[in-house]
Symmetry: C2
């Protein structure tokens, strides 16, 4: 399997690739288990934060250490959307994400306690990797339904060279290579 | 619904409670979306790290920002076990967790790439909240199957006043109150 080199700040990783679409492979960026890469990405994203941002909204799982670190460094709080209903949620807000690849919708869950934190706030949507923008659009819809105002979209990486339905700021477009699985 | 106050270092939170067992409620500790509480817990856990530790092993989801922060502050790397199979995993190690409450087993997944990082290493099992210890036992089994040596178990909190099947170090036992749901 081909690997691809990705550099963020002074951290370079030789990453395995995963297939997207029929004949294209992109690097698999995992922040989980890599605090150096996480910190490098958070540091590089800091100057890209929309200065109006009052709170960040993200979604599990890979983005979690990254957005924690971004919150820690910027002092801006954050809220996390889940992909499964948790038994402790009270009156959760539910939002569907149309899936391009699987043909089944993914469901996002936002606990009412956390939705309240978005009310009347300027919200920045933050993600690890953005491809088609479907999840970002669903997160923005959740933020608005919770009474927040979306002031921008920030991601560590874009992949697939697709045009997103919103204006996205990111560190870089992940390089892709031709190649099939196995 | 009764709330319960929890203090870690200089951070105090009034937390909602969740039911465990028939008539007992414990605080719901969420590190996701709370970088201050996460940092306070990581800072307090730092002196409790087994000094022999070469790598930490944890499991998604709530512990992720905590273990990232602990890794960042200690310089000790970490590996994350997932609860769902990801399409990109190659030859994942699979481990069942017997569930006390649901009667169904939960399955842990460790990508072979990450399992390799545990080989020949002294491994500390790190969790956010430990109750019966079932998940901790399964994580330790994974670490051993990957060729690591478990040197201890560390958690931010214990709950339920149960005796775990291993010696656990934690910041505190979460206070419980009598009370039923709703």
């Amino acid at each position: 399997m081909k690997s691809i080199q990705v550099t963020v700040g002074d951290v370079t990783r030789e990453l395995p690739t995963i297939q997207v679409g029929a004949v294209r492979r992109v690097p698999l960026v995992e922040f989980l288990g890599d605090s150096e890469l996480t910190n490098a990405a958070a540091e590089a994203m800091l100057p890209l934060l929309n200065p109006d941002t009052e709170i960040m909204l993200t979604v599990v799982t890979n983005a979690l250490p990254l957005v924690h670190e971004l919150s820690d460094r910027s002092g801006i709080p954050y809220v996390v959307v889940r992909k499964k209903r948790r038994t402790y949620m009270r009156d959760p807000m539910i939002q569907e994400v149309p899936s391009m690849s699987l043909g089944v919708n993914e469901t996002l869950w936002l606990d009412a306690r956390h939705a309240e934190r978005l009310q009347g706030k300027k919200v920045l949507i933050v993600q690890d990797v953005v491809s088609s923008g479907g999840t970002g659009t669903a997160l923005a819809r959740l933020a608005e339904r919770a009474g927040g105002e979306v002031v921008g979209y920030l991601a560590a990486f874009q992949q697939g060279g697709k045009k997103t339905p919103f204006e996205l700021t990111s560190l870089q477009e992940l390089p892709g290579v031709q190649g099939e699985d196995h």
